[in-house]
Amino acid sequence: MSRDRKNGDPHSATAANTVPWLEWTASGIGLLLVLGMFGVIAWQAFHGATMPPTIIVEAENTTRTDGGYRVLFRARNVSGGAAAQVEIEGTISAGHDASETSRVVLDYIPGHSSRKGGLFFTQDPRAGALKLRATGYAEP
């Protein structure tokens, strides 16, 4: 197997014929992933990825715990733009008692995504009117 050319690429002329099937497969899968990924990101770019966040908070379940009540909620960002440091505030305005407010900050809610969290109260949220809302966010 002597080298017939100085630069040591004796089969450069026939390289196209010697591409193994595995190489075609690997490159083919790579090409599909490139196209798929570029396609998805480009689609996002043209479908409101820069719309400022809109956050809707819904209570999912209320449980009695030691020393109070726990309300699980889901905060949904229905716009394309991501929100950071989203503050979620829950207020119970019971008739006779003073109203009670609990807060939590969610690090991030990506566009068209949701994050879950929980708030604790000492009063039973089911007794009074529980209001959940996002009070603000920062741009990431």
């Binding site: 193994p20 690997a26 990506p110």
Partner: protein
């Protein structure tokens, strides 16, 4: 076809070995950023147009890297492109699997979030896949590589510096620390750091005997080498740093003087990357 030719040809088995090394490289080079939380957030929070541009730039760099050191010896633009695509695929698959394993990507996330996170992580992982053969391979064809580096001349030299700078800058830029350091530094700190970057860039490439070290061009004086390679290299380092910072939205609405500070901060690791690119590639 002669027997000799048949034995020389790249078979699927040999390609499979290269592919396995590529996966190894993708994991090793990708792991630091897979475990960086800013990367997860940037994956969905960064501007889509910039992410798209970054992915395109990454594919172009992969094609160039394949020319110098792929997981396979290549002979033409077509094969370099095929190698780049395969490396990209390896990067995406590795990132996807590891992000799922680390519970960074879960199945109740929206698909746009999942794609964003995987796409961003695939950049360092695919570069790692491309370098995997070189770093992990036992049977390197050093002669062919040196030949390539000689043939490509000055342009190739600058490209290698760009690739090295990009890789290291990309590893540091997502973290909050770059900005914090830039805020903490006085202008004197920035000037000194910039000067140190240039000195290290020059020393690593031309003076200390690292493997893959550059021999000063024939007849080149210190000054001409310094201007031609070191300063040109630092220029590339600053441009790459600026590009990476812009990509991650770190420059938006920031005063020019702060951006300059950030550039010297990020330029420090980036110039180390540019200086040592030859060792890695």
């Amino acid at each position: 076809m002669s027997d000799a030719k048949g034995r020389r040809a790249v078979t699927s088995e040999r390609y499979a070995v290269g592919l396995a090394r590529a996966f190894g490289g993708a994991i090793i080079f990708g792991v630091p950023l897979l475990m960086t939380m800013e990367m997860w957030w940037l994956g969905f929070a960064m501007e889509r147009g910039r992410l798209l541009l970054l992915m395109g730039f990454n594919v172009a760099v992969l094609v160039g890297l394949s020319y110098f050191s792929g997981f396979e010896k290549t002979f033409s633009l077509k094969e370099d492109t095929m190698d780049a695509l395969a490396a990209f695929g390896v990067g995406v698959i590795t990132s996807a699997v590891l992000l799922v394993l680390l519970a960074v990507v879960t199945f109740d996330m929206s698909w746009s979030e999942v794609v964003g996170r995987i796409a961003l992580q695939s950049v360092p992982a695919s570069i790692g896949a491309m370098l995997g053969r070189k770093q992990l391979g036992a049977e390197q064809d050093m002669d062919a590589e040196e030949e390539r580096k000689r043939e490509s001349g000055y342009g190739g030299e600058l490209f290698l510096m760009l690739a090295g700078a990009l890789f290291l800058a990309f590893n540091v830029a997502p973290t909050e620390e770059v900005i914090l350091i830039a805020f903490q530094m006085t202008p004197w700190h920035a000037l000194l750091l910039g000067a140190l970057s240039i000195v290290l860039l020059h020393t690593f490439v031309y003076t200390v005997g690292f493997s893959g070290q550059e021999i000063r061009p024939e007849g080149g004086t210190f000054l001409s080498t310094f201007l031609h390679f070191t300063l040109a290299g630092y220029g590339i380092v600053l441009l790459v740093s600026l590009y990476v910072l812009w990509t991650f939205g770190r420059t938006d609405g920031v005063a020019l003087s702060e951006i300059a500070n950030m550039l010297t901060v990020l330029g420090f690791p980036a110039s180390l990357g540019a200086a040592t690119a030859r060792l890695v590639i």
